[in-house]
Subunit: 367 residues, 2 copies
């Protein structure tokens, strides 16, 4: 077992904040590197303000840290490699390299037999037109890098959309993907320990609105044991391929009761926030356990659970009070300034009924 | 509802640390006042290092804080009154004044009809001898103030002990109490909101060793519904008497299936640490909700639970790994330097069997 005392996290957003809230009880201290002095993880550890590609900031961040992890995947691979020359980085750069580029991601799905949508990489307008022709409409166009929460994406439903999307996204490396008319979206969150042991949370069902996760529910409708096993097999194959240590997420479309991989993330995930109160061990605690070389905790759900994001603006005091008065409801405030499209908190419902869920959805802004 | 953003906590020990870990997700920031620069709450908020009777330190602590609370009851009442002249202190000084002095505490139990042991206040050696004569042997001698974890206590079993205990404790204000040969010890943890609403956790059964809590279990053996109701009635009466806002604890002896109050604490309590993972809402979150004027959360236990303290020295890496590998086990490390008799962490078992409990007791030092 490793004797890490201070965990360094690249990124100081809400995911870093929740990793620290789970890791502090285990006796760890935290340090974050983030470009913003207002990064919400600053409440729970040292915050080094600096860019991820600033060697001086990386030096300062690394000094006195025992193990490094990251809370989002758009950290430069070279920054992680620099750090890895000096100390343990978990997950390693291979996990980042395999998930930062959507084309590499798709190719990896293919290589491991994980079903995914048809796709084509595009470097020029002629390739763009040819890819649309081959894949057919509707199709989705995405930047290969740095997309998140629906940013850097466009949908082509008819020839009328082609120029608009090209004007918006062209010039960058793009991926054209088949548009799936899915029945629902689900995600699997797995974790792999330093000893190679793996554990998996039950599939969550996710609903997105305007590209941003609106809510997740556990158990996912229609997620039977074979579907859970398929998802776990895919997640295990990917984690083993990358030699991944820590939490790992795959988002799937479900179409005719079959899983089609959409994307993966080498980190804790929004669709796993329900685990803080709803699982025996949260995804955040399990991430810390994994990177610290400790045994993984049980991923079992203690009850049916749900999570509703708070996006863009904070609910009024009366709304917060109404939600907190419901047994099994917990409110998480990331202490971020509200801004349209920004995730600023979430609400968990553990063991609640449909009526509570409907009401929490009414009370949580998503703007 | 109050719009507190920063909560000030008098005391920066593990209780303050766990209050902050529960309050940060609700969007609060924390500041602590503690005489030690190594206070474990320093990991989760600003730590002002200073004495509780240092007006300068109190000034610095109070500036920019929205509401003040305390994590232990031996804060000078005058410090709390000073702070209360400027901002909300919850619980108020009345709760402190009623629990700091064991004689006042006993008299309050009597006044409210809460059964307690026979007792006598003692100011001199003649009074001491008379009290022992009246109460009979064995009896317990305690300092009226500043006792905790068995410190400031002595037991008189025969005349041979009288001089020794007097030499040790005499000169201070003392209380001589009947020694109860109890069947078991239990505690009730209640919480009273700013609106007067009360909620209660199930009775915990507590085992002490050398005056320090060894473990707590839920449900407590023999704690039937009438016993729970009695305990709740006593806790409610005391909280209402003090106008208490926040968490409140009473420790009882159980003798022939009847409750006999031993002591009370106007704060979160070691015997409630199981609530972090074992209850729908933890005692720490409920304390924060109460002092912030938010609705209380459900106190229901999600499963049978237990808590084992780690006292004096930290278990070895192999012991920690063995415990973390048991499903439902969580380890809490307070990041304190080990010292004999010092609580430095605890382990929670949720939904575990007797075998796990026995093993965790073996693995957790209590020295």
């Amino acid at each position: 077992m490793m004797h890490s005392r201070t965990i360094g996290v690249l990124g100081g957003g809400q995911l870093g904040r929740m990793i620290a809230l789970a890791g502090i009880p285990l006796g760890f201290r935290f340090r974050f590197l983030d470009p913003s002095p207002e990064a919400p993880a600053g409440d729970v550890g040292d915050l080094i303000v600096g860019s991820f590609d600033d060697i001086g900031a990386l030096e300062k961040f690394a000094s006195g840290v025992d193990v490094v992890t990251y809370e989002f995947e758009n950290v430069p691979v070279m920054a992680v490699e620099c750090l890895a020359s000096r100390l343990a980085v978990r997950p390693e750069a291979t996990s980042l390299a395999g998930t930062q580029d959507r084309f590499v991601e798709k190719s990896t799905f293919d290589a491991l037999g994980v079903p995914t949508t048809r796709y084509a990489a595009v470097h020029s307008r002629p390739e763009f037109d040819a890819a649309i022709e081959r894949i057919g409409m509707p199709c989705v166009v995405k930047t290969r890098r740095n997309g998140y929460d629906g940013k850097g994406q466009g949908v082509i439903r008819s020839m009328a959309d082609v120029d608009r999307v090209w004007n918006e996204l062209g010039g960058r490396e793009l991926l054209v993907e088949e548009f799936i008319r899915f029945d629902r979206e689900v995600s699997i969150i797995g974790v792999r320990g330093a000893d190679g042991a793996c554990a998996f949370y039950p599939l969550a069902e996710n609903v997105h609105e305007r590209g941003i996760l609106r809510c997740s529910r556990i158990p996912a409708a229609g997620a039977d044991a074979p579907m859970q096993q398929h998802a776990e097999r895919h997640a295990r194959a990917l984690m083993e391929k990358f030699g991944h240590i820590g939490v790992f997420t795959i988002e799937f479309f479900v179409k005719d009761a079959r899983l089609v991989a959409n994307e993966m993330a080498p980190r804790v995930h929004n669709s796993g926030h329900w685990t803080i109160e709803g699982a025996v061990t949260s995804q955040f605690e399990n991430h810390v356990r994994a990177i610290a070389g400790l045994p993984l905790g049980s991923c079992e759900a203690i009850s049916a659970s749900a999570m509703v994001n708070i996006v863009g603006e904070w609910p009024g005091d009366a709304a917060i009070a109404e939600m907190l008065a419901m047994p099994g409801v917990h409110v998480h405030n990331y202490a971020k300034s509200p801004r349209a499209g920004r995730k600023i908190g979430h609400v968990t419902l553990v063991g609640c009924g449909e009526r509570e869920m409907v009401r929490v959805l009414e009370l949580c802004p998503h703007v």
